[in-house]
Symmetry: C2
Subunit: 212 residues, 2 copies
Amino acid sequence: MDITVPKGKRKAFQRLETRALILESAKALFADKGFERTTVRAIAASSEVGLGTIFKHFEDKNALLAAALHDDLAATLERAFKEVKHEKTARENFIHIASRLYQYYAVNPSLSKTLVQQAMFSKGKCQTVLDEQLSDFIGVIDGLLEKGKEKQEIKQSADNRAVAFNFFSHYIITLVSCLNQPTFSPESALAQLEEQLDITYSGIETTPGSKR
Amino acid sequence: MDITVPKGKRKAFQRLETRALILESAKALFADKGFERTTVRAIAASSEVGLGTIFKHFEDKNALLAAALHDDLAATLERAFKEVKHEKTARENFIHIASRLYQYYAVNPSLSKTLVQQAMFSKGKCQTVLDEQLSDFIGVIDGLLEKGKEKQEIKQSADNRAVAFNFFSHYIITLVSCLNQPTFSPESALAQLEEQLDITYSGIETTPGSKR
DNA sequence: CTATAAAGGTGAACGTGTTCACTTAAAGAA
DNA sequence: TTCTTTAAGTGAACACGTTCACCTTTATAG
């Protein structure tokens, strides 16, 4: 019997507290040992909770990783979105957002790789969390493109949806490609992304004006 | 004592035969039950081989899948490469190759998804097999682009390496994106790929000539 | 207050991928 | 041939993710 929460909501509070405890331990252990080398039993022991309890709070070990990184990732995204400057080009703003994300992934490339893998391939349900962030991301790019059209950066005939997907493709492939390198450097990832954006912007077909 | 191979190479032959037996069973079971729902024990039983034997032939269950699909995939790739017509544009040839691959993946989308996932994220060693195919793929695209430059389809200033990577990015992201749908249709995947190639070809920036 | 229902918490037990000490048989040396 | 070495083959044992029947505690009904 605890006096801090004398209401009829002790259970709900306990639940949240337990969840937080588990997440804290999970985060620390994942960061320390990596995903595969961290056992659910170790997380249970570290958070002083029964093994089964963890699975009352999280669908599986993957969901645990997603939850452990979710808050930081969401904060990174939100911060990046807020830093969008409307006087800058769509491209500059996009690169800035990508830059922030790459910096975040660089904190722990190994964990990031696992997270990205799960986001891209997870079966059915728990992907919702990451899908939301993807939708946000695509939505923001869409907005940037619209602004870009207004300021003559981008041609009117371009389809925002398709171009947003194009940007996202390059962002994600560059990320995966660089996460597979022995070391992940946000700078080289950005350079690679810029190279692809060059192509997306200028196109590759011969044009009447540039047939030298 | 078998009379068919009386040489001093019985062991080598036995080994190959055992390997083939395992692969045959693995292929059938994977196709029937899917990757996760097929146990290594079931493969061992079906191929009438000890459990440990499988791991003398394959690093792990993932390698088993890669090996099971490798030959078909290699054949698909080779066939697609041979169908390249030099009188067609680089884009048409690329789309044709992608089309063949998408058709192959469509045979068993679930297995394909697992295979692609492993190819993109496998740790360290066994990825070699798939990496080879990737190198081939990139190499062929590179060649197509060079031809494309000769026939004025693609501007000289384009960097083949970067553009080949660009093509590959769209190919792979489209594949993953479509494999995550409830049903995988090569046709809709191709449509999506074409949409992205449109962007890559024409570019999105406003040009002096197209400022309407 | 008591009785009942609901929900959090628990760890033994299970299934499965993977390892390893050992057996067996082929290849090579004497 | 006979002995030695090498490697294929094997399944018991292990580690870990996951499940589930059960317990305990809180919430709710009477």
